[in-house]
Symmetry: C2
Subunit: 245 residues, 2 copies
Amino acid sequence: MPPSPCSLQVNGAANTVQIASNPPHYLQGVDSLASIKRYGCDQEICGEACPAVYWFRVISGGARQCITRADGRRQIVELLLPGDFFGFCARNEYDFSVEAVAEGTRIACYPRQRIEATAERDPALARELRMLAFEAISRSQAQLLIVGRLTATEKVGGFLLAMSGRLSVGPADVVALPISRYDIADYLAISVETVSRSLTELRRRGLIAFTGTRRVRIIDRHSLEDLHGLSMQRRVPSFKPRFAA
Amino acid sequence: MPPSPCSLQVNGAANTVQIASNPPHYLQGVDSLASIKRYGCDQEICGEACPAVYWFRVISGGARQCITRADGRRQIVELLLPGDFFGFCARNEYDFSVEAVAEGTRIACYPRQRIEATAERDPALARELRMLAFEAISRSQAQLLIVGRLTATEKVGGFLLAMSGRLSVGPADVVALPISRYDIADYLAISVETVSRSLTELRRRGLIAFTGTRRVRIIDRHSLEDLHGLSMQRRVPSFKPRFAA
DNA sequence: CGAGTGGTTGAAATCCGTCAAGAATAGTGG
DNA sequence: CCACTATTCTTGACGGATTTCAACCACTCG
């Protein structure tokens, strides 16, 4: 878990620095090494095959981490919201690109070399990095199940629930979607039209309501959680009992 | 990259131990802490929600790492072959299960606590662990693109190429598939029947040939690599130019 | 106001999953 | 070594969930 909040002390004085870090987060111990950059909507934060000089953390706004094929097909592999880290890669070049999804997205950029050098001497920092990496593994593997084995409506319903969980600062039942339908589509690996149709379907069934194009109110959370097979379509893709096991 | 090969010396004698580690691999420095276990086909190596006591490495044989939903839908999130590590998780319980896919699969089990304790004092080990984790992130994110955005035939063709790359010890054009059609299906998130049909299709087009049910010869590697859109179906799922970008 | 973009909806096409039945293979025990 | 069986694999027919193609609406912004 992240270390408890602390105010950085510079020059011996008691003034807190701009990287004051309201919510506690990983890598707080090396925040002093990080620089903060601002990005416009759709602006590229790091590009595929670019030298991996930084690790990043979203401070405010959001970003999408994408992998793109030569023919243009794109998959958003991670939706990055405040507090999320990204930029980890095994080689010396990023194998993905990351773009801001909101105007004025602020990103903390940690110089990789220096952080790694620090980690050589600071086991606690090394452990934090490891935890961050392990969490990323869990997330993308969970996403594999979602992308591969859920129906479109299940994907969209689950996405709304996930967003309500991650963005919860208020009643948690009103979700302000941080990305467009196009991005939702590329995140869930379905088409834009299907995203739209699924949302309409959920509204029609009374599980959600719209207070704006990108503002959803979750009305029947329970049914939304039970979407799979129960409330929605009977079909469950590719589950074969395979005899008696 | 993994450290260079070394033969463990026990009791001062010059005899190499069973953990002789022919191909160099990560975590070699702590091989002496690992125990080796043997598993039968389909036998569970670690189960979902079980206490995460070990990290693992496949020595011989193979395994599938799965995430399963309550309703039975399953996704193989990683296909583990000799040299591959697994068992990393952010919490104290595995959020996946792993089962052997071959009779007599041998697994090296590294006690997590002890390895982590060692890593506290050994920055090089910590760096190795980090690299292993980063590679796992890259792999599963790449798999997300495959599962989400490729057609069935592209998936199967790419799978054959990937296997030929990972299993290459011989001519590299004859691939001995390590898993059943069912497992290929759950790995690529398609149905068994579609796996079978795609293989037949590739054979019909002269890109591959069978020397046995689970032995494939790659005949036209180039066409196999160019599958997307070119040699195969014209359709490319969900790529919309989205106006002028 | 018109252009540009995001979002929704409809109709038609299609890929793929399901269901079903065989064929091929592997495993077992006599 | 050969039935005999269980399992894997293949193939066909069919239906359905999604994609594609197309049109339209809403909103923003110059």
